[in-house]
Symmetry: C2
Subunit: 113 residues, 2 copies
DNA sequence: TCTTGATACAACCGTATGGTTGTATCAATG
DNA sequence: CATTGATACAACCATACGGTTGTATCAAGA
């Protein structure tokens, strides 16, 4: 269920920061609001808020109002999108290996018959 | 065979650019030098050279002298490192689901016995 | 309704990034 | 060994990024 075309630029850029990766990790199985998340890091509330905004724009987290807090939840589907992107490289690599083996086989047939 | 501790910041940052991802893709199964790679993009030779330097620092490609060219090859192992990082999130997610099912089971035992 | 806890946003600052052009290095080959 | 094809690097510019402080919005609860 892919809602929007994945923007890999902002997706990988969002993952290229230790604090943001840590927020993604925490938001997988916790139900913390922005302030609670911020309390874990040695930077201002506003800085963490900006990190969360970056993650939100990349589709990596969503926010949901609960009482007067806004709880941050990781969107695992977007993580899978990134993973699938890397899997495509792996497939290309596999294809390369296969073509190489094919070449070796042809060489063997042609010269050692 | 992990030579250096992976720097996920520079690794994901390197992947957060369309041109660089395309270079990685090409360098998986081609044997192009820097100039040949550069010819595919509508930017200066130096710009592409810088992109390749970013990929090299992130461990995503290596350069090998062949004749008077320097051929760029993708380091698939580094791509796998990034993939494994994302897999860890998936595992956390699995663990969360498991704990939730566990809770539901306990609830069922305690109330419906 | 008025307060206030929680979040959002704007302005600013230093540094990093992605691009350019120009010059320097370096090794294969005539 | 001098040339030159191929790559590297330095300097510069505009814009983006990660952090700060300060102010504004917004909805829950006394």
């Amino acid at each position: 269920m892919q809602l929007v075309a994945p923007d890999f630029d902002s997706l990988f850029a969002a993952l290229a920061d230790r604090t943001r990766r840590d927020i993604v990790r925490r938001a997988i199985d916790s139900e913390e609001g922005v302030a609670e998340l911020a309390s874990h890091y040695r930077m201002s509330f506003a800085a963490v808020q900006k990190h969360i905004a970056v993650l939100e724009r990349a589709g990596l987290v969503t926010k949901h109002r609960i009482g007067r807090r806004k709880v941050v939840r990781t969107n695992v589907e977007t993580l899978r999108t990134a993973r699938r992107m890397l899997d495509q490289y792996e497939e290309l690599w596999r294809g390369r290996i296969d073509r190489m083996s094919e070449l070796v086989n042809e060489y063997t047939r042609e010269t050692h018959q």
